[in-house]
């Protein structure tokens, strides 16, 4: 398949891995922000090709992992109401809330629909005028533009029965939270290529300068991952900081302007709580006041939600790169993909699930 095969070419991957080994002289701790990159490293076994001095730690870039428990409980409450249809990305259904998950709500007769795009949820609202359709709007800057479009489309259609349960988060603020934590070990970043395809990378130079870290905008294929690592290690070895674009086939500095315009039209920056991490100022988006009628939290009385996390789960430390999945006492024992205690064991982008699926705890 064109545009992927080239970036999975075995000879090129082996050459780049050899290059990386050659330029690496000192030990470095590098975080890949995005859970998609974590899975790529594990899926293709690229982590096995790295020089022993390079330690990868896995970042918070897993949409379902960072969605707070309270929001999941709210989604469950809405989905359990016969007047509602809750539409969601599939990954969200297995994430444990305080009691049960959306799969069990569906099994008990609740209307939970898996959609591939929020625009499908708008269609659901058109097809079910007697129901309130709520789309569970989670994720980073990658999911924000389509979620904004769903509101723009619902407005154009005059739909009164469509709204979003918003839990949108932003990458740069999370990077700052990690870097300013006293427990931080991260010395360089692979920035999330898909997020940068939308937002560009103009937000990163101030972070690189403030915290003296190199940042490489990095893609997801084996060649991309190695190109990003080579760029970061080169800067680390040279004592340099700054931002390089190692994913120039998809990312420009300014990013996707129409997508950013859609975000700005519908959303505004807001404080957000990250599951396992806590509240980070301005680390997410909420709907602008003029779109309050599409805000499920404002529109419906979801009631007081009491949340309780599994005590043993160390998801917060994993999402901040402070600990790794096999260091968790519950990993692969009480906590498995069939019976997850925390979200990172559920998601296709969760670090615990990546370790379990591809390494089985080794």
């Amino acid at each position: 398949m064109k545009y992927t095969e080239e970036f999975r070419d075995a000879r090129r991957v082996k050459e780049l891995a050899a290059d990386l080994c050659q330029i690496t002289k000192n030990p470095w701790v590098i975080m890949e922000i995005c859970g998609g990159q974590t899975h790529s490293f594990m899926h293709y076994g690229i982590d096995q090709l790295l020089p022993p001095q390079v330690e990868l730690v896995h970042g918070p870039g897993c949409p379902v992992c960072v969605t707070p428990l309270e929001m999941i409980d709210k989604a469950i409450a809405l989905a359990s109401d016969p007047n509602f249809i809750l539409a969601s990305f599939g990954d969200m259904l297995r994430v444990p809330g305080s009691k049960g998950d959306l799969f069990s709500v569906r099994a008990a007769g609740g209307a939970v629909k898996v959609v591939y795009s929020p625009l499908d949820a708008v269609q659901l609202a058109r097809q079910n005028p007697d129901k309130q359709v709520v789309f569970f709007a989670i994720g980073f800057e990658t999911t924000t533009p389509p979620n904004a479009l769903s509101i723009i489309q619902a407005e154009a259609l005059g739909l009164k029965n469509f709204s979003l349960l918003v839990s949108q988060v932003r990458v740069p603020q999370a990077m700052e939270a990690i870097l300013s934590s006293p427990a931080n070990r991260v010395q360089g970043f692979l920035a999330a290529g898909h997020v940068c395809a939308i937002m560009g990378y103009w937000e990163y130079p101030p972070i690189a300068a403030k915290y003296h870290v190199p940042i490489a905008v990095t893609g997801f294929e084996p060649v991309d991952l190695l190109l990003g690592l080579i760029d970061v290690v080169k800067m680390l070895e040279a004592g340099e900081t700054g931002v390089v674009n190692s994913y120039s086939r998809a990312v420009t500095e300014a990013g996707n302007q129409p997508a950013q315009a859609a975000i700005q039209r519908v959303f505004q920056p807001a404080d957000r709580t990250w599951r396992g991490i806590g509240t980070i100022p301005m680390s997410g988006f909420s709907l602008r006041p003029e779109y309050a009628q599409y805000d499920a939290e404002k529109r419906f009385d979801i009631g007081h939600i009491q949340t309780r996390e599994a005590e043993v789960c160390i998801a917060g430390k994993i999402l901040q790169g402070v600990m790794k999945p096999p260091q968790c006492p519950a990993f692969g024992k009480e906590c498995t993909p069939e019976n997850p205690l925390g979200a990172p064991m559920v998601s296709n982008e969760g670090a615990c699930s990546a370790y379990y699926r591809y390494r089985k705890g080794s």
Binding site: A10, K14, G36, G45, F89, L93, G139, T143, P337, K360
Partner: protein
């Protein structure tokens, strides 16, 4: 609405129920008999079925019996490369054949939803007849029930197959018979059925030029066993795909399995769909593919025989069996980069990625 009174007042004529299934079709009365005659009898007639007794009287074959049963609930009922009828026959024929048995007899029970189009049922039963003819299996008994509208999804078909494992078979073919040193073959590309079904459900939001691989595999197995009588394991990687099936075999046989990614055939449209959705072709369902595990010295002959068969043209050697190193059987995939990853069973449904 204006009544046409040009011919004077008329009595309402009882509706003929020739177009859709109604509850009466499952009552056991006249409507049931009419349905049996006009649909099932038309396509499936044979001396055993036509006996008309409560069960079929069948000659006892020489050898051991292989029996399997399977319920089919596919959506949509008609998809590129097949339909629920073909699937209901092939699925059970293949399960029976995986022990090296020659499939002989099939029974089929239908759960029909009130309102189901009889013309669709006609197509489905015709398709079953075609698939049964291809597989050389005779449909010897059947049953029909009708449930109220909304209590089923069109039609569900449950089939049970009986086959005979001839006394001439040398090996006891079983998932627990894989041995150290065996090689692993796959008869063709992975994931065609899974992606064709998703595409037919219009769940992909893009078009895929792909047909399901639904097919009876017993003919190919017969050709295989003629040249490679020492086959240890035969399995069709249906739900859960190649990865799940190999894990099951590794556990049953208490062996390690290693497969090489570059030798695993996957069609371009399947790769593309998997890229878009974040699926892994190793976990997608197949309905016409065969995993063969056999001693290495018969592999070449086996590959030639399989490639000569229409359903095995893309047969490829994908891996090897070794003794379980630390007591817990493992399935490992070798990447094109020389690295490895473990294959584990998926938890629950396959879910598309978010971004």
């Amino acid at each position: 609405m204006t009544a046409d009174l040009s011919q004077g007042p008329v009595c309402p004529v009882p509706l003929s129920h020739r177009e859709t299934i109604i509850l009466g079709h499952g009552s056991g009365g006249k409507l049931t008999h009419e349905l049996i005659r006009t649909i099932f009898g038309k396509w499936l007639s044979n001396p055993y079925l036509d006996q008309g007794d409560d069960s079929a009287r069948l000659p006892m074959p020489d050898g051991q019996l292989s029996i399997s049963t399977d319920a089919h609930v596919v959506k949509p009922l008609f998809f590129p490369g097949g339909d629920i009828g073909r699937l209901a026959v092939c699925g059970t024929v293949n399960d029976v054949a995986m022990l090296g048995a020659v499939p002989l007899y099939l029974t089929a029970s239908f759960i029909l939803e009130e309102g189901f189009a009889i013309s669709d049922l006609d197509k489905i039963v015709q398709s079953m007849a075609d698939a049964a003819r291809e597989a050389g299996i005779t449909i010897v008994a059947g049953d029909t029930k009708v449930v109220e509208k909304g209590k089923a999804d069109g039609v569900y078909i449950s089939t049970t197959g009986v086959g005979v494992i001839p006394n001439s078979r040398k090996m006891q073919i079983s998932g627990s018979a894989a041995q150290e040193g065996d090689v692993i073959l796959i008869s063709g590309s992975l994931g065609d059925h899974g992606i064709a079904i998703l595409s037919a459900r219009n769940e992909l939001a893009f078009e895929v030029a792909l047909e399901s691989d639904t097919a009876p595999l017993n003919g190919m197995i017969e050709a295989l066993l003629e040249v490679a009588p020492d086959v240890h394991v035969l399995r069709d990687p249906t739900r859960g795909g190649l990865a799940t099936t190999l894990i099951e075999i590794a556990n049953q046989s208490k062996v390690d399995i290693a497969i090489n990614e570059i030798n695993i055939p996957v069609k371009e449209p399947v790769k593309a769909a998997c890229e878009m959705l974040g699926f892994d072709p190793l976990y997608l369902a197949n309905e016409g593919k065969l995993i063969i595990i056999l001693p290495e010295n018969q592999a070449q002959r086996a590959i030639e025989a399989l490639r000569a068969h229409p359903y095995g043209r893309e047969t490829s050697m994908i891996g090897r069996v070794s003794s379980a190193k630390d007591g817990s059987p493992e399935v490992t995939l070798l990447t094109p980069y020389g690295s490895t990853r473990m294959l584990t069973m998926l938890a629950g449904e396959i879910l598309p990625r978010i971004c």
